[in-house]
Amino acid sequence: MAKKLIGDPIDRIDGTQKVTGSARYSADVKRPGLVHGVLVMSTVANGTIQTLDTTETLRLPGILAVMSHTNAPKLGGMDKNKSGETASDRVLHVFQDNLVHYNNQPIAMVIADTFEQAVEGASLVRVTYATEPVKPGLPTSTDKPLTPPRLPRVDDQVDTTRGDVKKGMAGAASTLEATYKTPTQFHNALEPHAVLSFWEGDKLTMYTTTQGISGYQKRVAELFGMPKENVRVITQYLGGGFGSKGTTFSQAMLGPMAAKLVGKPVKLVLKREHMFGMVGSRSATVQTMNVGATADGQLTAMTHDTLAQTSAFDEFMEPAGTITRMLYACPNLATTHKFIKANVGSTSPMRAPGEAPGVFALECAIDEMADKLKIDPLQFRLKNYAEEDPHRNRPFSSKSLRECYQQGADQFGWSKRAKQPRATRDGNYLVGMGMATTVYPVNRGESTAMVRLNTDGTVRLETGTQDLGTGTFTIMNQLAAEVLGLSPDQVTLGAGDSKYPEAVGSGGSRTTVTTGSAVTQAAQEVLKKAKKMAYSDKKSPLYAVAEAEIEAKNGRLESKSDPKKGESFTSLLKRNGNKPIEATTLSKSGAEKETHSMSAFGAIFVEVRVDEALGEVRISRMLGNIAAGKIVNAKTAKSQILGGMVWGVSMALHEYAALDTRNARIMNPNLAEYHVPVNADIRDIDAIFIDEADETVNPAGVKGIGEIGIVGTVSAIANAIYHATGKRHYDLPITVEKLIG
């Protein structure tokens, strides 16, 4: 039976809970004796706390404590509080000293019986500082750029060279140099970070907002200096994360520290303005691209130099140059990464870290070069199509980018695009079409899953994953059901709790790739055991039938050649001791990691309408064509891609943190002034998946789809605006004042 490449569009298993309000997110959990914590934030960006006066606060009724560096519980594992190997290990601010490294850094917490008392108490804490000169972030920083010790993915080199760039540029008929700027962005999941913590002796339980239950558990345990078995982390529902809940940030420690200090369960929920600093950001970047090509459109050389920022106390590098290394067949190429240090909160991974800003620069430069050479931008990309990964010198496990280009162009009507920019007008609008390649690597970690086939024919699946809203819980059940020939509603899932088998953190589009593979393998193991049981059971109709001859279908094992020959799981198990069959599988990469290059690819097409007099840009049509291996659930997968594409709209046209460079304070830390798209910003938007069978990539045959939607959309929009107006924009976001005139 041919495996389905596009899975059934079934509804989410937690849909009813979400639409009725019965889904309990972390801040919705109740606990007897629960008290409330509210943070006090720094108002300077660099210095030391001189005095922290809590007199007025402590006079209020209901105040239990004001926790600060003067009285916070000491942490046994503070030597671990440094920039780690992985992207999610960042330096935390957990009241162990009086240092202030950025504006809006947590410096104290008021704990009170009610939320209102805590809010009022926090407003009355008086702080004085000894301040030091502030290092502002990009683009105004004059700090000396440093080479970072590593990129977030350990396999990625910081700087690379292949061929001879000088020679390649000399051999080019046409060259271009352009500098692209992207701003600091904040994730702003709609659910503010929340943590409800309580201690029972030396055991800590936390209902919290995390994209990585197991990593969170480990990080909290190591900073407290306690065994991880003593920390239980529960995330039943997560209101989005986009990276800001992937890293374990300071509130993860401050919550349980406060619970320890007052001896009661403490609920700490960040205010929206607290989410502009202490829970990470996408670094601003300044990227310089050099591109050389022959007159007939062959790339001869490229360079991509990235300057990003990291916080003064940390060293996270936005890896913007990594895609440039592998996307086109360009023989001579160099990429570099540098950062400056600034008094800002930790920069950290945000949806498609590196790829989103990096591919904006790359795909705008490619578009501009095509235009210079008077070659259609899609043809120019096809001319430089990389059949193999030119960076790693390996074949792709699968690459259906050509099909994405083709189908996308056909469906979008690319052939109708005017050859010249600024050639199409509709009333007051200039109309333009743009496209870009989108791409995202397959990142696989390690996950364990347990699958148990019960005697009643149902399945219990357990794995300590979390569902950010992507549909993970739903598709894990689908994957197990598919292997065992069951309907997904016959599977019940245990997840969202560290008591279940350890699973990878949901970042870098890893979850279906990693945990989905674990689920697939555990289910395959159970199926194998069931087949063996039938094979050696004389009373089974499938006695002595070879494993390869048996398939699972509709709750039964059947002979492939004679489907009538078979029996239900129920009858097989009943006869064989009436016990469930269970398998627990740890899944991780194998040899394919060394032999193949693995990425999802796609093409994004955009039509914009620009009214220059008003500086108004409307995206009238957007289409994403994506090839990402097997798609487990057509419905949730489509929402993933569409959501990613809207993030592309946001990055291209809306989002930026406005920095007051005098004091390194974000001036728009709220959803009224930090603009993200609303419903009226999004019109005709669609995503189509290309059938792609990939037996190499992983046991589930899937590639991640959480981030690929944003990557190419940013440049497709910028390219469409160029095609509409004849003016290139190099500085994001492309806002009204940049469009006028």
Binding site: L190, L238, G240, S639
Partner: protein, 208 residues
């Protein structure tokens, strides 16, 4: 339309003023700023009494008698006091729409309302929308069918706004839906599914 909206704007301003003036109170206590804040002193209302008021709220056709502080928002009373946690707090400043409830049938941001000011009004939250425990409201079912969500955090607010605009006759075209639904931010950006869900219910002409 203007008259309908006046209510919300009024609520918004009051809440803003209270928040603002409590911040000013804070500043006044900080010695260096006292001198510059003379004008603010005049605008400052009396500090809310720490005492509680006994109030009666009508929520989801039930009557709740509860003692609240005057400064407690309707949102916090729903969530923290009555355990009606379906209504979400995304920004606490009326900017995201996650806390949308119906007050006398009108979509309203519960974070911008003080509970003491909404006695004797019919308040409906997401928990009160479905006709019964075993049956979804048509728009709830449509959100599931059209995947009008991802993480689900903004969803109760989206659905409450969606029901309101269908009832008010503002859901006659995708563009009209987009415009009227733009007070509810969905960071996962399930906007297409939201528009399809609302459009499908409006088209079917079901009583919502």
């Amino acid at each position: 339309m203007a008259e309908k909206d006046t209510y919300l704007i009024d609520g918004s301003n009051r809440r803003w003023f209270l928040k603002q003036s409590s911040a000013l109170t804070g500043l006044l206590l900080a010695p260096p700023l006292v001198a510059t804040s003379a004008q603010s002193t005049q605008r400052q209302p009396t500090v809310p009494p720490s005492g509680k008021r006994a109030i009666t709220l009508r929520i989801n056709k039930k009557t709740y008698k509860i003692d609240v502080e005057p400064r407690e928002t309707l949102l916090d009373v729903l969530r923290e006091r009555l355990d009606l946690t379906g209504t979400k707090k995304g920004c606490d400043h009326g900017q995201c729409g996650a806390c949308t409830v119906h007050v006398d049938g009108r979509q309203s941001n519960a974070c911008l309302m003080l509970a003491v000011m909404h006695q004797h009004q019919e308040i409906t939250t997401i928990e009160g929308l479905a006709p019964s425990k075993s049956q979804l409201h048509p728009l709830q079912a449509a959100f599931v069918k059209h995947d009008g969500y991802q993480c689900g955090f903004c969803t109760p607010g989206q659905i409450m706004s969606g029901v309101a605009i269908i009832r008010q006759g503002h859901a006659n075209s995708p563009d009209e839906i987009r415009e009227w639904m733009s007070g509810n931010i969905c960071r996962c950006a399930a906007y297409r599914g939201i528009v399809e869900a609302i459009g499908s219910v409006q088209k079917e002409g079901k009583t919502v």
